[in-house]
């Protein structure tokens, strides 16, 4: 692969990274969008609906994914990892590893014949491992690019997929390949992870089948979810009672996560409302310390949920254990009265906090919370401590989708100003060529 010159390189193909790339691409800049997964879309493509409008997430994300893929100024590199970032004048030389898909994407039509032929079934991280796909597969139905990828960790190298492929796209000779992109600026859009549940021993440390994380519930509520309906993962029962445990991994000094994750109240309320529609007979209880509904229309959303019959209880959940039928039992301290009560549910959702996703090999100052530090958060919230590198979305700190999109456009504006100020290397080269 030849070395490439770009005005900007965006790391991460979630909603924030895509928005930054689109904004820069629309201004005429040449943009490389690098994504570590085989498809762009990030977390947002896995979600059911957005709050407070309850619009379909896929309906918002998919057109953006498509726009990125078809934009004449955006060069998409999926299934790639950043290996190193070296300063080069006012810009950067970024070394990137292209992992082998074992599929020639110029031939693959995404027909999934290989996937149906593959004999081995493996957990699908897209469905939080509650669903499955095959060792060779198209990652999900709206993946961009809509191309198959083979997982060497599970492949038997039996060659059945190759025999079945109607366009001879399977290529077992592919090797990891390293290439360099010279970029004038970089935007970090590396996203978030949930607080690891294994650290919360009093909540079962991830070992209780019917205590799940909120992204699992998102998949249950999405039309493309693993079961096609809401079932509890322990035994496939349709839950009649569901509890949400707020601040399960945020505002928690024992975990070293003292900040509020900002989105948990709203996604819990949203999921409760959606559950009310999916399971009209189910009792839904949200145990909270405070409800924080700070955004436009959010307080009304909360009031609507209460009016719909969602039960909000002010109390701190001390522990969760399960009975013989795997029903979670919550021990709750009612904050207002000091009373300790125990309540059994069919399913419990831990409203886990947001922590930064593992950053690629880009040396950047981090804040005490582990997110990328921004020295002037009030006046330049997307500018990092390293000139030419900008940050957007949850890589900078917990934020919701609306704020991520705003932040993405802000980061694109900062990058645009930086490129213009320092002179695009592409423009300098063009000028030299025609001088």
């Amino acid at each position: 692969m030849d070395d490439l010159h770009m005005d900007a390189l965006v790391i991460g193909g979630g909603i924030a990274g895509m928005q930054s790339a689109l904004d820069l691409g629309d201004q005429g800049f040449q943009v490389a969008l690098v994504e570590r997964d085989p498809s762009i879309g990030g977390r947002m493509i896995t979600l059911s609906k957005v709050f407070p409008t309850l619009d379909c997430c896929s309906c918002i994300t998919t057109p953006k994914m498509s726009a990125v893929a078809h934009h004449p100024n955006i060069h998409l590199y999926t299934y790639c990892e950043i290996q190193s970032v070296q300063e080069h004048g006012a810009g950067f030389d970024v070394s990137i590893l292209q992992k082998p898909r074992y599929v020639d994407i110029s031939k693959c039509t995404g027909c999934r014949e290989c996937e149906y032929e593959c004999p081995i079934t493996v957990p699908s991280p897209f469905d939080r491992n509650l669903g499955a796909y095959r060792a060779i597969r198209v990652p999900f139905s709206t993946a961009v690019p809509q191309k198959a990828v083979l997982d060497p960790e599970y492949c038997l190298w039996c060659g059945k997929c190759e025999q079945k492929c109607p366009v001879e796209a399977i290529d077992f000779s592919q090797q990891p390949e390293t290439f360099t992109i010279e970029a004038d600026s970089i935007i970090m859009a590396t996203g978030f992870d949930l607080t690891p549940v294994s650290t919360k021993k009093e909540y079962g440390a991830g070992k209780l089948h019917n205590v799940i994380d909120p992204l699992m519930m998102e998949r249950f509520l999405a039309p493309t979810g693993p079961y096609g309906r809401v079932l509890r993962p322990g035994d496939g029962k349709e839950p009649g009672s569901i509890a949400y445990v707020q601040c399960a991994g945020s505002r928690d000094e024992t975990l070293g996560i003292t900040y509020c994750s900002r989105v948990c109240c709203m996604y819990a309320i949203k999921q409760a409302m959606l559950l009310n529609g999916a399971l009209p007979m189910a009792d839904i209880t949200i145990y909270y310390m405070d409800i924080r509904t700070f955004g436009k229309g959010y307080e009304q959303f909360y009031q609507n949920a209460k009016a719909m019959g969602v039960n909000f209880v002010r109390g701190k959940v001390a522990s969760i254990r399960e009975d013989a039928d795997q029903n979670p039992i919550l021990k709750v301290e009612m904050t207002d009265t000091g009373e300790i009560v125990e309540q059994t549910f069919d399913l419990v959702v831990l409203s886990q906090g947001i922590v930064p996703a593992s950053h690629p090999t880009v040396s950047l100052p981090l804040g005490s919370d582990g997110f990328i530090s921004v020295p002037a958060p009030d006046s330049a919230p997307c500018v990092t401590g390293r000139p030419g590198i900008f940050v957007t979305g949850t890589a900078a700190g917990p934020m919701d989708i609306v704020d991520s999109i705003v932040s993405a456009s802000a980061a694109a504006a900062e990058a645009s100003a930086y490129i213009r100020e320092n002179g695009s290397r592409l423009e300098v080269e063009k000028e030299a060529l025609y001088a």
């Binding site: 599970y154 038997l156 000779s173 079961y227 096609g228 496939g236 349709e238």
Partner: protein, 96 residues
């Protein structure tokens, strides 16, 4: 043509050698999955059943049965067939 076929076979053989450890794990997983699919399909062929019923009959943990049933449903091997109380029923999809 023969040379091309041979080189393909050699390539696969080489990949199996390079990935020997993961191939071994995948082979064991495949064996387990084949066995599980046979047992579950035979059970769901008789009449529509729930996940706990299948777990009890086969001795496979219910969460594992559900995961595999979800996979079989995705690939058209089983289908939902109504509800029994709070549990969906699943049946084997007969091949034409």
């Amino acid at each position: 043509m023969t040379t091309q076929t041979l080189s393909r076979a050699e390539l696969l053989k080489q990949l199996r050698t390079t990935h020997a450890e993961s191939v071994k794990r995948a082979q064991e997983l495949l064996k387990e999955q084949k066995h599980m699919q046979q047992e579950l399909c035979a059970f769901f062929r008789e009449k529509p059943r729930t996940v706990p019923e299948a777990a009890q009959a086969t001795g496979i943990p219910a969460d594992k049965v559900l995961w595999f049933v979800a996979a079989m449903k995705k690939y058209g091997i089983v289908a939902e067939a109504g509800m029994c109380g709070d549990y969906p029923l699943y049946k084997k999809v007969e091949e034409n």
